[in-house]
Point group: D2
Chain length 270, copies 4
């Protein structure tokens, strides 16, 4: 499966990175510049945010999509963002390269049916209480609708353990890779909720056979409008990108070649 210059599910491992939420053009551009320079293959960011409370920050909406799309184009990296409802589809298709279905919507069958009819790739996150079988059957809603460009994403399941935000289920990744042909990414940020666990879990995901990562990065995690506790700083993200190739090579894979444009790469040169 190709998303612009990026191939997902092939021998090379891909990394999508960016802020949990698009908060402003400056913040998004700054994160985009640093993750592109560090070698991220896709820019992720949330414009429409599903929030447990109606009184929490809900994202910038359409304005956020434009900011995200602009940063992606500026740096030559395709963009991933979450879609919450069918009515958002036109603006999503306009600005976004990969449509993400979040954990809460994994069994929103109306949304899945609508996305089965588009020709954009869909990133389908596992529901936080969904079995592997339910996750694969949710993907069937997309495939059955005619959209074969489906990427799965494990993001942790809900258990009794409270030391981490969720429990990352890497065995499900290995299982799905054996029982299905679909590519599987891992989101260590939501899975653990703790930035200090993101690098070890990213390396573990690579060793377990995942096809890539979805990682949250924020310039100033302590000021983030959402989920700052799990965001990597740009410096730690760069460290992750430097450590991945050796682990990938050890299991017979490689890190996907860089896709960012020269402008972005120049940004981190002295």
């Amino acid at each position: 499966m190709r998303v612009g210059p990026v191939e997902i599910g092939g021998p090379a491992f891909v990394v999508a990175a960016g802020p949990c939420a698009v908060e402003s053009a400056a913040q998004t551009e700054s994160v985009a510049e640093s993750v592109a320079a560090a070698g991220a293959h896709l820019l992720r960011g949330g414009a429409f945010k599903p929030r447990t409370s109606p009184y929490a920050f809900q994202g910038l909406g359409e304005a956020g999509l434009s900011i995200l799309g602009r940063s992606g184009r500026r740096h030559g990296v395709p963009v991933v963002a979450e879609i919450l409802e069918v009515s958002q589809l036109p603006s999503m298709l306009d600005q976004v390269d990969v449509l993400q279905v979040g954990a809460r919507n994994m069994q929103n069958f109306a949304l899945l049916r609508a996305l089965g009819k588009v020709r954009h790739p869909v990133l389908l996150k596992r529901g936080f209480a969904a079995t592997v079988e339910e996750w694969l059957l949710a993907a069937e809603y997309l495939l059955d609708g005619g959209n074969t460009e489906v990427v799965l994403c494990e993001r942790g399941i809900r258990t009794f353990e409270t030391a981490t935000r969720n429990t990352l289920d890497l065995a499900s990744v290995a299982l799905v890779k054996q029982r299905s042909h679909l590519p599987v990414l891992v989101d260590p940020s939501h899975a653990t909720g703790l930035s200090e666990l993101v690098i070890p879990m990213s390396l573990a995901a690579a060793a377990a056979g995942a096809d890539g990562l979805l990682v949250e990065v924020h310039g100033h995690p302590e000021e983030a409008l959402c989920d700052g506790r799990q965001a990597l700083t740009p410096r730690l993200f760069a460290e992750l990108m430097q450590r991945l190739p050796a682990v990938l090579q050890s299991v017979g894979r490689t890190l996907h070649p860089g896709v960012a444009s020269a402008r972005s790469v120049r940004a981190v040169s002295p």
Copy 2:
């Protein structure tokens, strides 16, 4: 809160009963007749069915809504049915008295926002991995939108136990009754998945302080198109209705007076 002749959340306990899915006019009418005669206050039935697999029976859709609405009117009992997406709202408002949001959609915020704007009561089921706090915050989406007619429904949560379909969390019912003013129903059918547990769990729910029940009834459970294993027969449903008043009285409550029209009540006379 009133739904036609039925008051929910007052001192009297209410019972919604009917088939998991509307399968045909004959099946629905037969169940409606028997549950109305046994004293059910609302008729429940699924026209749009959320199914884990896209290849499973998906419900009769609009045709199912008409069948259900007709049976409800014929017997004088208001109707409850599940809404899966905003586009179903016009036909739902036309045929249905209480709009049910299912467990999978508890955090479908787009749907909740749309239902916050209507003036029909909403029955909000707890997600099968939702905490009590998340459940109450989902209700806030409805309340914040201006719809104050919100009824909660506990239907079991997902745990490691496999002997029952879910784990019925009656303590959450008592907790919500203490921390919120919203009425709470209990669905012992989905919670246990086993028809032989429905009566004991219904009586327990009544003793725990629930405001009512949502129970699945089918004329021939072994032939049901969905969830037959958890459906009561009309005979067992009548037994449940006969046993409820004593338990309710023991905790200072009563069973809501009957609402079915004479036609329905005559149906069970010799």
Copy 3:
């Protein structure tokens, strides 16, 4: 099954009550007096306490057993206490009428085998992550050893929900009553961890078909050395005992007749 004057598993419902831990003779005697006067049929209390941390209060040990045994005899109520290891058996058999196996030891097979050989009744709590099947098979270790006096106790299972200490699984009680001949008690104190939920869950347990309760009571819950948040005051315990008969009658059962001696009953007379 008989324990002195108390029959467990017959038509009558029994209540074991007392402090989480025996803290002193005065505290134990005061609780014993009030629960016996309110009609409790057994006195429960912990002398050997299994504690998550080795640095937490571990119970008074042998001295605690003597205190408990003395209070039980003074008021004419048999005594229940937890046994943690085989070496405690002689002093337990000396002072205690019912040997409790706690949730953490449900699969301590060495302990179960030893208790299979004694002729004291055993109260087997469900492990907090044990399936119903595993619980019944743990009971088989006792039965297979020759001890047929086994009482089960549901005390909540561990789930993702954090609003309550555990999730009380009353459906398991109804299920075990249908699939086994063993009596089943319910411990609403450990199951919920919140004293305000103990009365509603006790009534629900009675309606669900449980054979009795195990309830924590403390004269001054805010000063308790363990689990004060879930302890009823003597006044609330007396309220529970007054409310149980009506619920039991509504499901065709009765509260077991009082067993406390006159001395105890006099204690609450003016």
Copy 4:
């Protein structure tokens, strides 16, 4: 920490391998020979088996310990076996180098206190519903007793997912490595219950920062008296041992040097 020629918790990664249960001298010797030849550093095997049902195979007991000890000495690899009760301590200390406390006994505080007093290393498995905090506090019982040679072992936790036997929680490994000085092994066999997931999860554990593995190997998994579905064949175990060094090197670690005696290594030469 040293166990004979093996250092656990140092920079080098160690692998304990062997059958779930010692079934016979021939079976144990055959597995011991193959795992020692493939480079295993410790031989694991169960002589006293904790079984859910009293009617299931309970292990060979003392005879099993002798068989295991003899095979370990013959091949020059220290031996790990599970202890179920204090009374087994003398024969365990005689035959076994590392005493394993199984998941069911993680909070068997009497056993932990007894093991706190010996000077043999203890392998403490995480209970299948134990939080990381409870696991570390269980280790405190050993440390507080004076035994500082404690090795932790993550073996999967119990969740709603049924596709795997348990859910391997690798984030807990990374978390414990950050918050404690204790070495942590991973048991991918019990964690997944599926032999085809053992190699990917072993590599993931190595990448996540674990200090070693505990792996089940059986000559004929389909004939194993327990847990055959999760056992590697000797051939697959050898493949695992060949793949580990590259992954370990990629995260800055090495595989512990071989410890088996020449006799064992000769066994696989042509």
